[in-house]
Assembly symmetry: C2
Homo-oligomer: 287 residues x 2
């Protein structure tokens, strides 16, 4: 189409893409162009601003490698990753909401007895007792469910990021009892920053945003006949929960602190509801 | 903000960005998030589709180097570059619309006399006489205006892309006469494809779109007291003009073919209107 006014452009692009054989690609690209053009018409970028936008996109692509996905990080800090996740798996008030596996899970965490501590060295930090249950959607306990747990230390590092921690520190594999209950001891984890050495870090600084995710504990819960649950339970101060840089704190994934049982032990309650399904163990990000 | 429904997410992100000190950055990012979230809510990408989108963005960033800007190319084939240009410089029906300088302009094109040919070797192709005038917005001729012209050959290559063409082939610098008129001889240029070896090429193939820009001639017109005009004049078959892969064919930039004057000579009329302003010569993309 020969353009004689900017108003024609969106239709011109839609027409050019109309012969796309794959109907889903056609639909997605038409929507992308419509929304992208609406954005451009609303903000009317100057040539210099357009160039800055282009340079940001080049920058996040080029900052991505095997160790860091800066494009996913950009989607995270704009709430897009969380939105996609929630649209695909809406909170239904019954099954426990899933969360990302993340890059730090390892196979073969040490087998633990009920109540064991997963702290494998002297660590400064608040002692934490985690307890809860594994149930099916009807509320029946799932005896023998396996609870694989891993977390960062009180300084915000996983053992495989930190030479100061022993092998498999803050990792353990527990088994639910006949009532579906489990408990273990640990230290309170700390939140940690997303990487800030790329264009996303520059954006966060320009927006006066801190780069922290709130403290959380990772869980993978499995039981025969039930779909594997991979999730994160958030356990932090309220203000940190409110300002997760990736907008990943879902209300049902915030653990409740129970009244202290005397001394300096805090108690965190983490209950899980597993749906029927197949046990699938993800590929470990770390061999 | 702790999220308990996807509907909260857009507000949560806006609040997180609300302390941005730069008001323009705050405005642009708020609009970006609103439009991006609206797009995601409309198409509801699956996890796999989201990953494909992420991979496309990584791919265009990583395919960009000094020789090719794949991110700009993506913006071009989605009509975004043309939209930004038109919003910043709307067609006003008076001054000649600008167009991109492109990567092929060279300083110091050969000085030519009126009517000279810019064809500097034997070339197979239709002979073309280009003529027109340079005027101010009131219609007064601008005597002595300088018209710097460059174009691709009938096979779609500029001389500095093509070992088969002599130095400065299809380039020339003309001077308007007392009536503001100029004319020169050349061959009819050919359109040429945008680069298709990256993710944008894959997208065009999936959309069953050809990668061609229509044939065009580049002009840079200067005159003391007038703003430098950098533009492109399109001269191609109607169907090629209608399907420019970059949506860059603006109605006032389509040249009119005049009736043939006998023989195989085609005549193309290219008139220019320069606004008052300063002469600014762009930095040459090629040293």
């Amino acid at each position: 189409m020969i353009i004689d006014h900017q108003a024609d452009l969106t239709l011109a692009v839609e027409l050019a893409m109309a012969r796309t054989p794959d109907p889903r690609l056609r639909e997605v690209m038409a929507a992308l162009v419509r929304h992208a053009h609406a954005f451009v018409r609303e903000v009317r970028p100057t040539d210099e601003e357009f160039e800055r936008g282009i340079d940001f996109l080049i920058g996040i692509g080029q900052a991505t490698d095997e160790k860091k996905n800066e494009v996913v990080l950009a989607a995270d800090v704009l709430g897009i990753s969380s939105l996609v996740g929630l649209l695909n798996k809406p909170l239904d008030g019954v099954r426990t909401a899933p969360a990302l596996l993340g890059p730090f899970w390892r196979r073969n965490a040490p087998e633990c007895a009920p109540g064991d501590s997963i702290v494998r060295c002297a660590v400064e930090g608040e002692r934490l007792l985690v307890r809860g249950s594994v149930r099916d959607p009807a509320g029946r306990p799932i005896a023998g469910a396996r609870i694989d747990v891993w977390q960062a230390s009180p300084v915000g590092l996983y053992e495989n990021q930190d030479d100061g921690q022993p092998e498999m520190n803050l990792r353990g594999l527990f088994t639910a009892d006949a009532a579906g209950a489990y408990h273990f001891e640990t230290v309170r984890p700390a939140g940690y920053p997303v990487p800030t050495d790329g264009p996303v870090g520059d954006l966060l600084r320009a927006q006066r945003r801190h780069p922290y995710r709130p403290a959380h504990i990772h869980f993978m819960v499995t039981a025969p006949g039930h779909a594997t649950l991979v999730t994160q339970i958030f356990a932090d101060e309220q203000d940190r929960l409110e300002t997760d840089v990736t907008f990943g704190v879902l209300e049902p994934l915030v653990a409740r602190f129970e009244p202290k049982e005397g001394g300096n032990l805090q108690v965190l309650r983490c209950d899980f509801v597993l749906e029927a399904g197949e046990t699938r163990i993800p590929k470990a990000p770390i061999p």
